[in-house]
Homo-oligomer: 185 residues x 2
């Protein structure tokens, strides 16, 4: 126990407890008092374990990001597949509750990042690149085209959240069309 300070342990515990709340509520309704409530502690304590609110938020968000990586790893760890297949799989995932929450949160991040908030620029950039890399690796296309194809698939799928934030599955017909187009290649 010489290398894992008690403080670090407590931090981790708090972060884990808050992750769910951030996924459910996004970046609003995240006052220190509210978060303290969710984590079963006090605002005073949150600021004892974390430098300030930004520190706390970043910790929770990166934790969520890492978690996502694991989920994808488990779901996707296969040999490369053709684009149409990958899109189909991603669309299924995005419609699942777990990933829908992730996407909603990412939407929040993008919105903040687009306003040049440096904190969220870094986080959303990292999240985006992680996804692109992951999807690229899954695509059975020439190396030179992997990145473009990955972005294309993600934009199309995630874009449904942009267009239909309250019921992304309304974009079903568009995704079907996209898969059909990809299938012809």
């Amino acid at each position: 126990m010489a290398f894992v300070s008690k403080k670090a342990t407590k931090r981790a515990a708090i972060v884990a407890k808050l992750a769910g709340h951030f996924l459910a509520s996004g970046l609003e309704d995240t006052s220190l008092r509210r978060l303290a409530d969710v984590a079963g502690t006090s605002d005073r304590m949150l600021l004892y374990y974390f430098e300030n609110k930004d520190d706390l938020v970043v910790s929770v968000l990166t934790h969520i990001g890492d978690d996502l990586a694991l989920v994808l790893e488990a779901k996707f760890a296969d040999e490369p597949k053709p684009p149409a297949e990958v899109m189909r799989a991603l669309w299924e995932l995005v419609k699942s509750v777990a990933l829908a929450d992730q996407l909603r949160l990412w939407l929040d991040l993008s919105s903040r990042a687009s306003r040049q908030d440096p904190l969220y620029m870094v986080i959303s950039e990292a999240m985006g690149e992680a996804w692109i890399k992951r999807l690229s690796a899954l695509l059975d296309v020439p190396d030179a085209e992997k990145r473009a194809m990955a972005i294309l698939i993600m934009a199309t799928v995630d874009g449904q959240m942009f267009l239909f934030p309250t019921a992304p599955e309304r974009g079903e017909i568009a995704i079907a069309k996209a898969i059909e187009l990809l299938d012809r290649v």
Copy 2:
């Protein structure tokens, strides 16, 4: 002058002045005092001309939406074109400053709407449907496929903002790929 009350005129003037600020700053940095400053009046006056803040915000946002319609009308009013062409044109538009601002704002709306905020659900829903209708009309494809294709094109293009909120043009390769795919049809 019997039908246009002074109050209505003043409201319109305020809304027009605030539109630019909303486009530039989104839905944050919009305290009544800040907005009053931008509009060259006082918070007291804003609440005199508008019922409450929501009323003011909705007014400004719908004004912006209507404005957008005009811009598109002017830029797009042509005969139907094949999907690849439409996507190319839309991508060009989205990269222009005017429309980039609009999209950024829409991203904010989507983010709020995805959290079930009824105010923003209504607005973003309306904006989305307006766009879909507009694009549908421009597409030279069978009627039954218009909507799906319009959504597909928009999601792909707007999705770049989602994935690369700080520099959407990073998605250039993906759009090129999409156009290439559409061209083969």
